[in-house]
């Protein structure tokens, strides 16, 4: 490491305190101090609500409210919070660039890519001719490896993929050659396969321009691979900071220890063949389904295939992970299994239970956004009672003890029954939804991205909960996810979908044997944090090199 670079901090935050103003100020961030040296790659890590986004927005004075501000933020030699409006504008133009979580939202949807590039370029070249600016805009797009940049100028953000839009955002942020690039969850909204590409692009920018990067993320995998320094935020305070090696290797704070433990991925070597001998719970045979935008498209047979000769099975007591990127058909498969969507052809069968007392297995579904499926005005306990009442549970005492048991099964305390969903955390809400699904003693649970709305630590709790349910109640689970870590953690069998086709259907132990389909391999390679557990990679190494990503 070059000691000169440490000597020159690009960004210094001193005792930062942000509170929501009012008669009784609500503290959001308290006593946060850190420094980022020139060329550094600083990662601010924490769960949602930990104050990391507020911290980084306050560094550009972009908070959506009028805060009570304490402390000092100095970036590129300027005391950010004492700048005049004019100075602040110059500061934003020249000193810092920012990349946002959802590139489609961060670009104006009703204006072309080109017009947004040109209007920003105009700030730096006020007297340049239009065609001159156009050339520069094309150069900027080339700089972030966007193919056919000339054509892209004329189109709108929604006509580009998420990955390309994020590249446009990076190009926009880099136009002013800033000293510091703040990237706020830059990959969270993107498909797995492009996440690495975007991160690699940021690395490339950093190397080329001697750029300093502040990365805000909840994804520890990214951090381990690329950051030079890590700061962990929890409940508005920094609980730990230091070089990546030090923090990852030996986290000191309790919270960070728990966080890193939860994010650790172990290559699974589970023996799952015994489960495959059990009777079927659900089977898809040669299922086809195509969606058409209009009846004209149907006639012309121009449709979006959601299932092409799709065949796979879930055995009783087995956890099968259905993996794929958005548009792969995994949610359609779940809906077809629930009978919410009718397939064009093929057979979907819910098999009878082993004892034969029921002709069909009882299936319940858990949705992606737990809060959307709960009544916000009704106490959790009442909602659970209601489900049972509808299904003929007359005895209130029996209902109460059954609910108490299930709530315990999903690892919640009895106190949640007295609360309304608004007062539950994301993880608690998701477990309430799971509990509700379990009330009617299903033989099978279909869970559509149950973990995407919650943080790493809570993911761990929910996965544990699934594991316990399977062991205690023998429930089969079809888990729909885009996150391979979840697969490694819990699945017995992995089914990979792409464009409605099953391209992989293997036991989890064979998943990483290196003999998989090219696409599967790509998904595995793109998984952040994979390198850390596979080999003793040194994350402290300055200027971390791109790993599996490709451009």
């Amino acid at each position: 490491m070059n000691p000169d670079r440490f000597a020159e901090p690009v960004c210094r935050v001193e005792n930062l305190g942000i509170a929501l103003g009012g008669d009784h100020p609500i503290p959001l961030v308290e006593d946060v101090s850190f420094e980022i040296t020139r060329g550094g790659y600083f990662a601010l890590v924490g769960e949602s609500g930990s104050g990391k986004s507020i911290t980084c927005h306050s560094m550009m004075r972009l908070l959506p409210f009028k805060p009570e501000f304490r402390g000092r933020i100095v970036i590129d030699g300027q005391d950010v919070w004492s700048l005049t409006a004019r100075q602040l504008m110059q500061f934003r133009r020249k000193s810092v660039g920012m990349v946002f979580q959802d590139p489609l939202a961060a670009l104006n949807p009703v204006r072309t890519i080109g017009s947004q590039l040109l209007e920003t370029l105009r700030l730096y070249y006020p007297s340049a001719r239009h065609d001159e600016l156009r050339t520069r805009a094309i150069e900027a797009l080339k700089g972030v490896h966007i193919p056919m940049p000339e054509q892209r100028l004329e189109i709108y953000p929604h006509q580009l993929s998420g990955g390309l839009n994020q590249r446009v955002m990076i190009a926009l942020a880099m136009l002013g050659e800033p000293a510091l690039l703040i990237a706020d969850e830059p990959t969270t909204a993107l498909d797995m396969s492009v996440q690495a590409e975007v991160l690699d692009l940021i690395d490339e920018m950093r190397r080329q321009n001697n750029l300093t990067v502040l990365l805000v993320t909840h994804d520890l995998g990214i951090v381990r691979d690329r950051a030079t320094h890590i700061a962990v935020m929890h409940k508005g305070r920094l609980v730990e900071q230091g070089s990546t090696a030090a923090v990852v290797g030996a986290p000191k704070a309790d919270y960070s220890r728990e966080l890193f433990a939860a994010a650790n991925v172990e290559w699974p070597a589970r023996e799952t063949s015994a489960l495959r001998q059990k009777p079927f719970a659900l089977s898809f045979e040669n299922v086809n389904k195509t969606f058409y935008a209009s009846s004209r498209d149907r006639k012309a047979d121009i449709g979006v295939p959601a299932a092409k000769a799709m065949s796979f099975a879930v055995h009783q007591g087995e956890i099968v992970a259905l993996v794929g990127e958005s548009g792969s058909g995994k949610t359609t498969a779940a809906k077809m299994a629930m009978g919410l969507v009718t397939p064009d052809s093929g057979t979907i069968k819910l098999h009878a239970s082993a004892g034969g007392e029921k002709s069909k297995l009882n299936v319940q579904m858990v949705f992606q956004h737990p809060r959307d499926s709960l009544d916000p005005l009704m106490k959790v306990g009442d909602q659970l009672h209601e489900v049972l009442k509808v299904h003929g549970w007359r005895d209130a005492e029996a209902r109460r003890s059954h609910i108490a048991q299930i709530i315990q099964d999903v690892g919640l305390g009895a106190h949640v029954l007295e609360r309304r969903p608004t007062f539950l955390s994301g993880g608690e809400a998701q477990r309430v939804v799971i509990a509700r699904a379990l009330l009617l003693k299903p033989d099978m649970l279909i869970a559509d991205e149950p973990l995407s709305a919650v943080d790493v630590r809570i993911q761990k709790h929910i996965l544990d909960c699934f594991q316990r349910l399977r062991e205690r109640l023998g429930i089969a689970i079809l888990l729909i996810t885009h996150d391979l870590r979840v697969v490694f953690e819990i699945a017995d069998q992995v089914v990979v979908l792409r464009h409605g086709e099953v391209i992989e259907d293997v036991p989890v132990s064979l998943f990483t044997d290196g003999k998989r389909h090219e696409y599967t391999q790509m998904l595995i390679d793109a998984m952040p944090g994979k390198a850390a557990s596979e080999q003793a990679h040194d994350p402290g190494h300055e200027g971390a090199v791109a790993t599996g990503g490709r451009i």
Binding site: M89, K94, F100, D102, A106, L107, P109, V110, L123
Partner: protein
Amino acid sequence: MLLISRLLRAVVSLWVIVTLVFVALRATGDPILAIFNPDDTTQAALDAYREQWGYTGTILQQYLTYVSNVFHGTFGISNMSNRDALEVVLERLPATLQLVGCSALVMILVGLPVGAFAALDNGGRLDRTIMSLSTVGFALPNFVLGLALILLLSVNLRILPSNGYGSIQNLIMPVLTIGLAKAAIFTRFVRSAVLDALRLTCVTSARARGLSEFRIFTHHVIPNALLPLVTITPLLVGSMIAAGSVVESVFGWPGVGRLIVDSVAQRDLAVLQVIIMMVAFLMIATNLIVDLAYAKLDPRTALAHSH
């Protein structure tokens, strides 16, 4: 293609509306007895009117005659004025278009800037003042606002005529009555549309790039705020025709709104049917224009792609 299917749907809904109106107006009692006082009119006269105005035979027979007439381009004769119903309605149309057009202009010219100022001062004193005024504005019945204007501007100050049609002076008060009442509502839509647009990430992102606040407002906030407004504006303008019937009464304005009320009271079915067809046609046409405008403003819509 999209356009043709849309037009077809429009024709079908138009037909359904006309049929419903046709049946409803005849099912609520003998139209002749709704028009004439039998204490005043001999049976022979009533029968003659029934014959002349085509109220003989079953409703179905009357309906078939009506439909065949419409296909031949005749919309029937107005009982009230013994003239072609279409002519009666068209004669009133300029007054209504003047009133609605100018009111819409007032609504937009007042609502847009006031709503935008309120949004920019979200929660501030200006915002609270504007919102209170807006509440008063849309809670106040048109009737009361119109009379208050008459009492102030005609009776007390004597600067505008209280009733009548034809001159600019006549136009001012009815237009203010409708325009301001709708502006009170429109202001709220503008405010919330601008507030929503201000909260967009693309606005934060533009600010982060160092664009001036003015440029952000004109190039990022306004284009996004316009989208919901384009949808709501024709609805508000359409509701002006309904508001018109009251305002036209207060100011003696010879518009279509007043004609609707009279025609219902007098069971002038031919005229009513023409008006309903015309209003439906106007609404359908406006919706089409809105769709096209939306496509122009928002590149994400389906119509935008079919070009």
